[in-house]
Symmetry: C2
DNA sequence: TAAGTATATGTGTATTGACACATATAGGCA
DNA sequence: TGCCTATATGTGTCAATACACATATACTTA
């Protein structure tokens, strides 16, 4: 899998151009999957060849024309079939944890600084999730189409909270030493 | 980065052959970084060319000879320099969360099954972390060289607990609907 | 006027990673 | 005897990913 599927998921929201998708990947879905624009443009072509999307060129004066992609019935079917396949849990795959395994062979001062920076980064990310939840989901029950997005946010919060707790404990453990 | 650095980290533990490393990547460090054996063998050659490891062939009768790799001073230096570079937080990158974004276009029954399976998988992983902690780190203060490994385990527990909480809430949210 | 930023689409290439295939031997089991 | 598993090292190849480069225009700011 998976970039192709992630794109199909995005296009259930609304028809989008490659540029739109690239921006979308930098925000909402980008919390759970990443892609650069060359990747997206190439993948869109493949999806078109498979008949999962159709493109429509929007003529624009001055700026380059937008090529807007739209899901086909075959694309929706592919998405449905993909959603039935089992998913393996993603592994953590984090540099910082790898470094920790060789704690006696690395620069401990740098390590403390990195954990401090991480703590700040995770707090900021958590604040961003809270902000999104407050502006989008604070008005009673979410609409059924938004439920998944809210659940995604909640996982993000769970994840960031876990890291924040860990960073605080880690710093407490590492502070005592002179270096 | 990073497979090369992960291998250097492993070799701080003890000299290892490619086969040893592949097994090591399936257990301890494998919680935070993954690698297949062809990848490891190729990377070891590159590390040798850079002078970060030296190899020593252990003659064995019958079985193929083991080529055991050992860190050099240059390798230790490279590890130290790597440990000073800032690390970006890893993103979550999880299929399940991507699917959730298109919740109205996927198979909801399959989704519930997948979350149920995930809950079980995360509980099992958590139990494994607890087991490792109990057998390796239950005897008072950990040795300095083991501190990082203990901290890694703790992050793993934080992570699995977050997922477990989320799965339980998610199932509660999804159950009510007939389908 | 020059520089930077946003819009919009691509190519070219290198690195990484996944996975099948290949080889060789010893030991256990049916 | 045949098959599977464990030990041990590789090659060959394709897909996925990252990143630099290329192009074209409009608008804003110094």
């Amino acid at each position: 899998m998976a970039l192709s599927d992630a794109i199909l998921v995005c296009l259930t929201e609304r028809p989008m151009s490659g540029y739109d998708l690239a921006k979308y990947f930098d925000t909402s879905i980008g919390f759970f999957w990443h892609a650069t624009h060359p990747q997206i443009y190439r993948e869109l072509k493949k999806l078109g060849q498979r008949g999962y999307v159709v493109s429509d060129e929007e003529i624009q004066s001055g700026k380059p024309n937008r090529i807007v992609y739209c899901l086909t019935d075959a694309g929706r079917q592919a998405l449905l079939e993909w959603s039935r396949k089992p998913v393996a849990p993603a592994l953590i795959k984090d540099d910082l944890l790898v470094r920790l395994q060789a704690i006696e062979h690395i620069d401990k001062r740098a390590l403390r600084q990195q954990i401090t920076a991480r703590l700040a980064a995770h707090r900021e990310q958590l604040a961003q999730y809270h902000h999104i939840r407050d502006v989008r989901f604070s008005h009673g029950e979410p609409e059924p189409s938004d439920l998944g997005k809210l659940m995604g946010l909640e996982l993000g919060m769970e994840y960031e909270n876990g890291w924040i707790n860990w960073c605080k404990n880690a710093l407490a453990r590492l502070e005592p030493d002179g270096d």
